[in-house]
């Protein structure tokens, strides 16, 4: 079943989903639906994030104080919850990105030298 496959991918994602969200929200205030669209666009459909699973993650980040939220009007005139990155969230994003880079460098190095 398709649901099962996407589950596998989201396993890979679990640690990095938070980072992706922070990165996207860091570009400017944005609502949940737009975040899910953006993730799919940027990753060229590689990350099949089941849309629903985005919200628990958003609420978790908000709860930790990494994201702030505000109810604002969209361009279509509807009210939506817009998220933005807090100071604490920015710090978190930087350290996570640094960690990620270190890791991907390390993995790349291993892959190269093992050839």
């Amino acid at each position: 079943m398709a649901a099962d496959k996407s589950l596998d991918k989201s396993e890979v994602l679990k640690g990095t989903l938070d980072m992706l969200i922070l990165k996207i929200v860091a570009l400017g205030p944005i609502h949940g639906y737009a975040i899910s669209q953006r993730i799919q666009q940027i990753s060229k459909d590689f990350f099949q994030v089941q849309q629903g699973s985005l919200y628990p993650a958003l609420h978790r980040l908000e709860n930790r104080g990494w994201l702030g939220a505000e109810w604002k009007m969209t361009e279509t005139g509807r009210e939506a919850k817009f998220y933005s990155v807090t100071k604490k969230g920015r710090k978190q994003l930087e350290s996570e990105m640094a960690a990620w880079e270190r890791m991907s460098d390390a993995v790349a190095l291993i892959l190269r030298t093992a050839e």
Binding site: Q50, G52, A80
Partner: protein, 898 residues
């Protein structure tokens, strides 16, 4: 506190979450429509892509962090709703829990009051009891003489302070029927060293306790409330104790009831006042009258072990200074080797005769028993819930498919069972209050009243809450896992609710019932042992007839009569009593049977030595001639005392058969002589044996017969002030009391009288055995009932499940009896497994109660057989009812059902 605010903003947050997700779905739908789908399809796709709207909401709420508390409240509300839906099951469960938890709380409350609770004084952990041991035995002795106390008081340096007290009864009445209160002789340091504060007035000071004192009295708080209404003006008034007046100087702080667990403290007077009450019999300077208990408070920072070592080092000089001069040299040497021992006494003094040592084992056994009952009750509820969980599979399946996680549902079901046991515990606390008060009343006798402060302290409360939660989890966990172990698909299908899941449920239920059977058997064996012990005690021939005997304990201390005039006064009293209408016969003696008191000494055979195997310690008593007729103790040889036996005639003695047989084996004891060691009370001349009586119990029904000798009152040298008249009547003994009181008053109004019956005294002496029989009978019965309900429930459930199968069998020609056999076999397997396990368990566990049994061993085959028979009989009845229903299954109906 953030989560608390969040908790209260829950509704708002929930609606925001709703609109946020709705916004997402609507955006997606709009986009899909824009992509060319029709609106319905667009929305369906949007929802599918989102994936489980409700479960996402649940996860998002989880992320909020307050979710646990929220859902807990929600679960509890839901639990109450579910429980109300099945009032019968809920009612049975709550009632059995209330009984089980109530019984546990009651017994634990008693254990707390008797063994665990600290004395309500300052820094109780600094208190230590000072005891001593003789080099010849290992047993600690709790009581010392006043000379020993004065040595310790004046010369010890092991403790910051030491205190002494001697428990006693005081009579408030000036003659006539006694009105006793429990009191102590207290050292001047008593209250100060314990750190007890006055509730009114002042407490004893060292200056109150000096030789030759006039005496002052301090009241206990409860006594002050009950006898003086708690008014301040009581201070300065006088209280009459045993006919002497003492000024009341103060009241001890509320809640303090002395250092002896189980007694109340009504009045305290200084030790020196003993000389006022006992006059020339005073024990203050007697070096072998053991009536005081000692405690010390360690210096800050000094351990009790250190104080103990120091006291031990002091033993030789302290004991050496107060050796009883009249003792034979051999015993004096032993006395010099006595050594002190110190034990922690934070929760009160305990002695070998104290309430604590007497009831420790029974209380521990009862705790075990009620624990088992509670386990059985839990097992019962577990099987009830299991049966119900089968019925709830549809509900659970719906919730699972709507996105609830299994863990979440398990939590819900567990919350239900904890709520259930919480309600049971609440009710149980009321049972417990009532039950423990009742228990204390049951163990309290006229002669030794028991006073316990049964307040529900934090320890008992924690215990009750603990077992309530534990029970809830215990009986909830299996049903919870079973109930949620369903595949939504199959459970949702019509008619499948009693499918595969149900099958494994009935296996689990069978296991539970087997455990119940085993536990009940252990309880029943215990019950049978204790009941047997009690009936053995009641059925044995005590050597006297306890029915229809009124006993009048008479104290003539107030009369201040010199010793030589006492016997003639007793003679007058006895004559008056014999003339009271309705009296069959009357007599007087010093030691009444089963009173717990004894007079014993050795008697020598003049010109000979004791044959081997003869017990040198003989129980003694002095009696008037009609004693044997009144007690109906048969005289098997010779004659009883009569008018011929006077102070000047040949000294005579009557012995029991055991003495005759062991002291004069193979000879005729009549005409033989015995010689007394005790020159005070008994004749200095050899005493001639004139009669032999049947053996009779003396201090307790449990003890073996011992050699006993009776002397005539007329030949007793030192007649005491505290004796007892026995009156045999054809009427109810109690009906005779007014006439007896008048008869005694006509001789002298000042004698103190205390009435009881020989039957009552005998019953009191086996109180503990009676209590164990009644209580274990009650709990054993309860366990049996619970097990029967459990077995019935499970078999009924199994039969309902197998209705279809049974229908097919019958349609294929099976006889009703073979169906019956089918069901009964099913039950028999459970029963046999349970009985075997229970039998092994009870053989293993009942070894521990050997000491409490009488006339049988823990593995008494008859007792075991009876217990098994009772259990099997009840189990068969409980199984037969559902089995009969299975037999009556109409194959047509059963098959159409599907």
């Amino acid at each position: 506190m953030r989560w608390l605010t969040l908790l209260f903003r829950k509704t708002k947050l929930d609606s925001q979450l709703d609109s946020e997700l709705r916004f997402h779905v609507e955006q997606q739908t709009a986009e899909n429509i824009a992509g060319g789908m029709n609106p319905a399809e667009a929305r369906r796709r949007a929802l599918a892509e989102f994936g489980g709207l409700e479960s996402r909401k649940e996860e998002a709420r989880d992320a909020r962090g307050t979710h646990f508390v929220e859902t807990l409240l929600q679960d509890i509300r839901f639990a109450f709703r579910i429980l109300r839906k099945t009032p019968l099951i809920t009612g049975i469960a709550i009632l059995s829990l209330a009984l089980g938890i109530g019984a546990n709380t009651a017994i634990f409350g008693l254990i707390d009051a008797v063994m665990l609770r600290m004395l309500p004084v300052q820094n109780p952990e600094q208190l230590a009891q000072i005891l001593f041991r003789s080099p010849t035995t290992s047993r600690l002795r709790p009581n010392v003489t006043n000379p020993i106390w004065e040595q310790v008081r004046d010369h010890q340096d092991a403790f910051a302070s030491v205190l002494a007290w001697g428990a006693t009864d005081f009579d408030l009445a000036d003659g006539g029927q006694e009105n006793t209160v429990s009191g102590i002789y207290a050292s001047g340091s008593y209250f100060k060293a314990l750190g007890v504060r006055p509730a009114a007035g002042r407490l004893l000071a060292p200056s109150d306790d000096v030789r030759g004192c006039r005496g002052v009295a301090v009241l206990g708080y409860g006594f002050w409330q009950s006898h003086y209404g708690g008014v301040e003006s009581a201070i300065g008034s006088f209280i009459r104790l045993n006919g002497y007046s003492f000024p009341i100087v103060g009241v001890a702080q509320r809640g303090f009831s002395g250092t002896d667990v189980g007694t109340s403290l009504d009045v305290a007077i200084p030790i020196c006042a003993e000389a006022i009450l006992d006059g020339k019999n005073s024990s203050l300077d007697v070096r072998d009258d053991w009536w005081l208990s000692l405690m010390g408070r360690v210096k800050p920072g000094v351990s009790i072990e250190k104080a103990s070592a120091r006291m031990q080092a002091l033993s030789q000089p302290l004991f050496g200074a107060v050796v009883p001069p009249a003792w034979p040299a051999k015993y004096q040497d032993v006395f010099r080797k006595y050594s002190f021992a110190v034990l922690p006494a934070a929760n009160g003094a305990g002695g070998p005769f104290g309430l604590r040592s007497q009831y420790r084992q029974p209380l521990e056994i009862l705790m075990f028993v009620v624990g088992l009952v509670l386990l059985i009750a839990c097992a019962n509820i577990a099987s009830l819930l299991l049966a119900r969980s089968a019925a709830r599979q549809r509900e659970i399946a719906v919730r699972l498919s709507l996105g609830a996680s299994r863990g979440r549902l398990i939590r819900q079901v567990l919350t239900e069972s904890v709520v259930l046991s919480g309600v049971g515990a609440l009710l149980g606390v009321f049972f417990a209050r009532w039950g423990s008060t009742l228990l204390v009343r049951l163990v309290s006798t006229q002669r030794s009243p028991v006073f316990l402060d049964l307040k529900m302290d934090s320890r008992v409360l924690a215990f009750t809450i603990g077992i309530a939660v534990l029970c809830g989890l215990l009986f909830g966990i299996l049903p919870a896992f079973r109930a949620t172990h369903v595949s939504p698909m199959s459970a949702m299908k019509e008619g499948q609710s009693q499918g595969a899941g149900g099958r494994s449920q009935s296996v689990a239920a069978r296991w539970i019932v087997a455990v119940q059977v085993a536990l009940s058997l252990v309880l029943l064996v215990g019950t049978a042992l204790f009941i047997h012990t009690f009936t053995n005690l009641m059925a044995l021939d005590a050597g006297f007839d306890r029915n229809n005997v009124l006993m009048v304990r008479t104290n003539i201390h107030n009369l201040q009569i010199p010793e030589p005039a006492r016997a003639p006064l007793y003679g007058q009293m006895l004559a008056k009593l014999q003339a009271v209408p309705g009296v069959v016969s009357a007599s007087q003696c010093w030691m009444t049977p089963l009173s717990g008191m004894q007079w014993d000494n050795s008697l020598a055979i003049p010109g000979g030595s004791l044959p081997t195997g003869a017990d040198s310690d003989i129980l003694l008593n002095w009696v008037t001639p009609d004693f044997f007729a009144t007690m109906r103790t048969p005289v098997v040889e010779g004659r009883v005392f009569d008018a011929r036996d006077t102070a000047t005639s040949t000294p005579v003695v009557i012995v029991n058969q055991l003495l005759a047989r062991t002291y004069f084996p193979g000879q005729n004891p009549i005409g033989k002589h015995l010689l007394a060691n005790n020159k005070d009370m008994l004749s200095k001349q050899p005493m001639e044996i004139i009669g032999v009586t049947q053996d009779a119990k003396y201090t307790s029904l449990r003890e073996d017969f011992r050699p006993e000798a009776y002397f005539p009152l007329a030949q007793i040298g030192a007649v005491g002030e505290d004796t007892t008249f026995e009156i045999r009547t054809a009427m109810t003994p109690g009906a005779l009391i007014p006439a007896v009181r008048d008869a005694m008053a006509s001789i002298n109004k000042s004698a103190s009288l205390q009435f009881t019956t020989l039957k009552q005294q005998a019953d009191d002496s086996v109180l503990q055995e009676h209590l164990m029989a009644v209580l274990s009978g009650f709990f054993g019965g309860l366990a049996l009932l619970l097990t029967a309900i459990g077995l019935y429930g499970v078999m009924a459930y199994v039969v309902t499940q197998r209705t279809h199968e049974i229908g097919i069998r019958m349609a294929l020609g099976a006889q009703q009896t073979s169906i019956l056999r089918l069901v009964m076999c099913d039950a028999a397997m459970v029963l046999v497994a349970g009985v075997v396990a229970g039998l092994l368990g009870s053989i293993w566990i009942t070894r521990l109660v050997r000491q409490l049994l009488f006339g049988l061993t823990p593995n008494d085959p008859l007792t075991l057989a009876l217990a098994i028979a009772a259990l099997v009989a009840v189990a068969l009845v409980a199984t037969y009812i559902p089995a009969r229903r299975a037999m009556k299954v109409d194959p047509m109906v059963a098959l159409r059902y599907e």
